[in-house]
Amino acid sequence: MDRQGTIQAIEAGLTDVLEREVSGLAEETRFFEDLHLDSTSILELLMSLEEELGFQVDPDELDMKDFVSVGTFVDYLDKVVTA
């Protein structure tokens, strides 16, 4: 999946988690400051994408630095989806 496709999957996941339409995300969009997510919402998004994109997360290996912005999260997903 290319980066734009991954961003669309994040938008769909966030729409589910936040129960409101989320679209138009840019790589620079920050989860905490711009979207006002908390850490559990990020993890719930991760769980939603885990099933959608078919990868497995090890909760003990998570690094919150991967969840700073849409761009860092796409980098993270690229790694785990192809692993």
Binding site: H36, S39, T40, L43, E44, S48, E51, P59
Partner: protein, 318 residues
């Protein structure tokens, strides 16, 4: 003069036999698939004990009867019964649960009351209060019985959004002063009253609390260890409440305490059982012969609202 320590003369727990997987509660708790996965995988809450057919007294009384039987003390020596619970109202207003427990246990000499303000940290608070009351009375043979146990009788009670799914268990702890049991070497709490709305503080304030939670909890535990005259290196095991894995991952990192000396094995098995967790965990470890006489154990819990509590206990064989 050194204050004589409260001692734990007996601890027991009782839980329904019915085991329920968290995903089986999805409909009752209105959990989406990703919320279920959040609880199962990230929070580590997989199963819990839950039996809506069980009578309240059948949950709460067996552990209390067990510690009274095993202690082999005359019931007339039990001068206090403290029922510690997190859910504010467990029975219709015409029923005083503490008095009812006192009556059913035959503790005719005991003063009975409830303690609930520290929510899921109330069980530990009750041990401290029991010690204080016994010291005030000054009778070395007197005992106080701490009882915990409550049921998830509504969906609202069974869920702390995004944080915990609540299971059912009850516990009892017989307390003396300077007795033969495990001495309580310290007890420290910190309460943040600005979060007193508890589960209703809203997402934004919950996120604020989430940011400071690990450091304040770690600080509370460090103080308890220090007041016990010990260092973290002296602590054999950290015996925590079972709120979830994520908060414990962050908290032991803030405390700089090894994960392998933190007892997290009951989180997936029991989930969070209101004010009973630390007693359930203590008994689990004792029954598995993983508590060493003379070694020190750090017991820690948090009650929503928000009270951070930590206690250091030196284990002795019953």
């Amino acid at each position: 003069m050194t204050t004589q320590p409260a001692t734990l003369e007996g601890v027991a727990y009782h839980a329904p036999e019915r085991v329920v997987a968290v995903e089986e509660l999805a409909e009752r708790l209105n959990l989406t698939k990703s919320k279920v996965q959040l609880f199962r995988k990230m929070q580590g809450l997989k199963e819990l004990r839950y039996d809506p057919e069980m009578r309240f007294e059948d949950l709460v009384l067996p552990a209390a009867r067990q510690v009274l039987d095993e202690a082999e003390v005359p019931l007339s020596r039990v001068t206090h019964l403290i029922f510690a619970h997190a859910t504010q109202l467990l029975a219709p207003s015409t029923v005083d649960v503490a008095q009812e427990l006192r009556r059913q246990l035959g503790l005719t000499r005991a003063t009975a009351f409830s303690l609930t303000q520290q929510n899921c940290a109330s069980g530990m608070a009750a041990v401290d209060v029991a010690g204080e009351l016994l010291r005030l009375d000054g009778d070395p043979d007197a005992r106080a019985l701490v009882v915990t146990g409550e049921q998830a009788f509504t969906a609202g009670i069974q869920l702390i959004p995004d944080t915990a799914v609540l299971g059912e268990a009850a516990a009892a702890c017989l307390v003396a002063v300077d007795g033969a049991g495990a001495p309580v070497r310290s007890y420290v709490t910190q309460t943040l009253g600005e979060y007193s709305n508890g589960v209703r503080i809203g997402k934004e304030r919950a996120a604020d609390l989430g940011q400071i939670y690990p450091e304040i909890f770690a600080d509370t535990m460090r103080r308890a260890v220090s007041e016990a005259g010990l260092t973290l290196a002296d602590i054999e095991l950290l015996i925590p409440h079972n709120v979830n894995m994520m908060s414990w991952r962050q908290t032991i990192q803030a405390l700089d305490f090894p994960r392998e000396r933190t007892f997290l094995e009951n989180i997936p098995r029991f989930s969070h059982c209101f004010a009973s967790d630390v007693f359930v965990n203590y008994v689990t470890l004792r029954d598995e012969k993983r508590l060493v006489p003379g070694r020190h154990y750090l017991v820690a819990s948090v009650g929503v609202g928000t009270t951070f509590a930590a206690m250091v206990i030196t284990h002795r064989e019953d």
